[in-house]
Symmetry: C2
Subunit: 195 residues, 2 copies
């Protein structure tokens, strides 16, 4: 368990903002320092290396995705479970928009070892979607030619969301999620409940 001080959280937030806009390599340690109104070298009172900031962000988002999925549990049927998985995913992206952007765009900048860890967690996470779809197909709830491509299809819709979610947008995330879920259920050949 790592204790995160207020100042360190400010630093993470600044890193999320700048990394999401300029990229990891396009942001300098001095850029980050300026956001906090301190001198460049002063950041190293809080971190050991620039890459640690990227890792902390990516790790945090990976954990949030996992927690969102874990909270759903195993009691739901395939359709309700997929609905919940999609909604949780979109809510995490919306709640952590900058961090999520960094997660998807910059994770490849991590060191070999850290990159491998993220890749594995992502595989496991995506496998949950795949299993849910497989199960739905076996139960005759979903009707698709290839569950594998159907899973990629669903994850595409979810993973692209950070590209167009606007922090300022007045549109409530719940509304977006509902529509995307409804479209996806139809795509998978399931009838949406309230249609």
């Amino acid at each position: 368990m790592v204790t995160i001080t207020d100042r360190r959280m400010e630093l993470l937030t600044a890193a999320g903002t700048l990394f999401s806009r300029w990229g990891y390599h396009g942001t300098t340690v001095r850029d980050l320092a300026k956001e906090l109104d301190v001198q460049g070298g002063s950041l190293y009172a809080h971190i050991a290396a620039k890459e640690d900031l990227l890792w902390e962000i990516v790790d945090r988002v990976a954990a949030r995705f996992q927690e969102g999925a874990d909270a759903i549990g195993e009691s739901l049927g395939p359709r309700e479970r997929l609905e919940a998985l999609m909604t949780a995913h979109l809510e995490t992206v919306a709640a952590e928009l900058h961090f999520a952007t960094v997660f998807f765009n910059e994770w490849q900048c991590l060191s070999e070892k850290r990159r491998a860890r993220i890749a594995q967690r992502r595989d496991e996470y995506e496998a949950m979607f795949r299993r849910t779809i497989d199960q739905g197909v076996r139960q005759g709830i979903f009707k698709v030619e290839s569950p594998k491509f159907a899973a990629i299809y669903v994850l595409s819709v979810l993973n692209w969301s950070y590209q167009w979610f606007k922090p300022t947008a007045s549109l409530p995330i719940e509304g977006v999620a509902k529509q995307f879920v409804a479209l996806t259920l139809r795509a998978l050949g399931a009838q949406a409940k309230n249609t």
Copy 2:
């Protein structure tokens, strides 16, 4: 009309490969030179600035997308037209995988002016999808709650494709396109032709 010499095309290809993997800022001019087995400074016999390479790649992909859409023409009905738009888009991504990756991931690294030009072309391109969906809804071919979100939904599926297309994969792109098109038509409430 810019004449592209063989050597310059090699340079563009190298830039596509390295930018897509390490990002624009994560790739140095020396990295590019090493790919061509020349000294760092020698690249400047071919280019005026590093950013020109990024611009050429992004511009090229934007043109390909536009050409693919223009070739479809206006004679098709909304469903067939959307099918053709989606297929053309996926084929362009597959044919220009590295360049397309750079297009989607690194275009924000461009200078203000160039970025604005790309943003506008992209808006126009996406508006074509939106119009096609609108038209389909008006004709009763598509049934969606919000044509606007439906368009974002469709573009999400298309734009994420560079993330999982594998150059080595034996799976033919046509098969993938067909399945994605079929899933999307169902999502929009249209019956796929051969189902």
